[in-house]
Amino acid sequence: MGWTDYRFDADQLSLRRDETKQATLPAATAAIITDNMTLIDLANPTRFLTLTARLLPWLAALTAILLLAGLYQSAVAPDDYQQGATVKIMFIHVPNAWLSMFVWGVMSLAALGTLVWRHPLADVAAKAAAPIGAAFTFLALVTGSLWGRPMWGTYWEWDARLTSVLILFLMYLGLIALWRAVEDPARAARAAAILTLVGAINLPIIKFSVDWWNTLHQPASVIRLGGPTLDRAFLIPLLVMAAAFSLLFATLHLAAMRNEILRRRVRALQMIQARQRPA
C-alpha cells in the first residue's frame, strides 16, 4: 500500500510523497504509514543527509569515549606469560583484522542492495566503505607484522592468517581500482557490486586454501598468534577495542557516505551548468 503513495523522481533520485493522495486517508492510517515509512524515507538522499547530520556528533562522541576506554584497558592489562607486554599489540591488531572482514561484509550487503533492489543509497554505501576497509586491512597487516617481529624474528612470516589478510588487502586495492576506472557512477557501482560479491564468495575459499598451504609447508617454529584460549584479563580490553573500532567505522562510514552524496550532487549540478552554458 505504501509504494503507491510515493512517486519516484528519477532526476533527483528521490521518493516524493504524493500530496494528492495523503488527503483522502483517515488520520489513523496516515499516521501508521508515516511511522512505518522510515526505511523508504531513508532511501531519499536528502532525508539521509538530515539523519546523518543529527547522528554524527553522537556517534563521534561515543567512539571517542570507547577508544579512550580501550586505550586505558590496554595500558593496565597484565603482561602475557609468553609474550610479555607485546600482547598489547593484539588489542589493536585483532579488531582491525575483524573489521577488515566485517567491512567486506557490509560492502557485500550494499552490493546486494545495488544489484537486487536498486536501492539508491547502496551504491553510495559501497563506494564509501572501500577505502576505510582498505585502511583497516593495512593496519591489520602492519600491526600483525610488528606483533610477529618480537616472536618470529622477522617482519614478515607467511603464516596462514597474515597471508590471508595480505590477499584481502590486494582484493580491496583491486576493488578501489575498479571504482576509479569506470566513469559513470551507476555503472561503476554495478561492476564493483559484482566484484564484491565474487570476492565474498572467494574469501572462505582463499582462507581454506591458505590454511591448507600453510600446514603443507610447516614452518620451523609454529607460533600461533593469540594462543589457544584467551584469559579474561585480555578479553576485556580486546572487546572494548573491538567495539570502539566498530563504532569508529560506523562514524567514518556515515561521514564518507555524506561526502559521496554531496559529490554526486556536485557532479549533477556541473552537468546542468555545462548544458546551460554552451562554451
Partner: protein, 222 residues
C-alpha cells in the same frame, strides 16, 4: 548446429588464426620457464624441486595474458552486443566462450608442459603429474578469469586491472595445483586430496564464472 556450438567453433577458429593469440600464450609460457633458471641458477636439483611450481606459475601467467582477448575483440567489432541481446541465455554464451578459450589457449599450455618439463629436469612421471593437474586446474583459471575479463571489457586500459582483479581468484587454484603435483612426485601426502579439491574448484568456477561474467556484461554494456 546450435547457437552455442557455433559460438564455440567461431571462437576457436578466430583464436587459432594469425593474431588470434592462442599460441602466443604457449610462447609466453616458454619464455617464463626459460627465464626461471637465469633467476634461480642452473642447479638441476633445485630446478627439479621447483619444477612443478615453475610450470604452474608459467601456465597461470600465460593464461592471464590471453584472458583479455576473451571479450575484447567481440566488444570492438560489436558482436558482443549481439551476443548479449540474443535469445541464447547469456550465462551459457559466456560458458561457451570460456570453453572455446580454454580449448584454444589452455590446451596448448597443457600439451607444452611435458616438453618444458624437460628444461627443468623433470622426469616423465613428474611431468605427466603436472600436466594432469594443469588439465584439472586451467579450466578454473579460464572460467574465473572470465569474470575479470567481463568486468574490464569496457575499459580502454583494462589489461592491468584485469590481472589485479583475477589474481586473488587464482591463488587457490595455484596452491592446490602445485600441491597435487608435489604430492604425486615426492610427497608423503596423498595425491587424491589436493587433486579432488582442484577438480572441485574447477567445477565451482563453471557455475560462478558464467553467472558473474554474464551479470557484468549485462550491467556494463548499457
Amino acid at each position: 548446429m546450435t547457437a552455442l556450438a557455433a559460438l564455440i567453433q567461431r571462437d576457436i577458429k578466430i583464436a587459432l588464426r594469425v593474431g588470434g593469440g592462442a599460441l602466443i600464450g604457449v610462447l609466453f609460457f616458454l619464455t617464463v620457464v626459460v627465464l626461471m633458471p637465469f633467476a634461480v641458477g642452473p642447479d638441476l636439483a633445485l630446478l627439479t624441486r621447483l619444477g612443478p611450481a615453475i610450470l604452474w606459475l608459467g601456465a597461470l601467467l600465460a593464461s592471464l595474458l590471453t584472458l583479455d582477448r576473451l571479450f575484447m575483440a567481440d566488444h570492438e567489432d560489436g558482436s558482443l552486443d549481439l551476443i548479449v541481446m540474443s535469445r541464447t541465455p547469456l550465462e551459457l554464451a559466456c560458458a561457451a566462450k570460456a570453453l572455446a578459450h580454454w580449448l584454444a589457449a589452455g590446451l596448448p599450455l597443457i600439451i607444452a608442459a611435458p616438453v618444458l618439463g624437460l628444461l627443468l629436469n623433470l622426469d616423465a612421471a613428474s611431468t605427466s603429474a603436472v600436466a594432469l593437474t594443469l588439465l584439472a586446474g586451467t579450466p578454473a583459471l579460464t572460467f574465473t578469469g572470465m569474470i575479470g575479463a567481463a568486468l574490464s571489457v569496457t575499459l580502454h586500459r583494462g589489461g592491468l586491472l584485469l590481472a589485479v582483479l583475477v589474481l586473488p581468484l587464482s591463488i587457490p587454484v595455484l596452491i592446490f595445483g602445485v600441491a597435487a603435483s608435489q604430492a604425486a612426485i615426492s610427497g608423503p601426502l596423498s595425491f587424491g586430496t589436493p587433486f579432488s579439491i582442484l577438480c572441485a574448484l574447477s567445477l565451482v568456477s563453471f557455475v560462478i564464472g558464467p553467472i558473474a561474467a554474464a551479470a557484468s556484461l549485462r550491467h556494463g554494456l548499457d
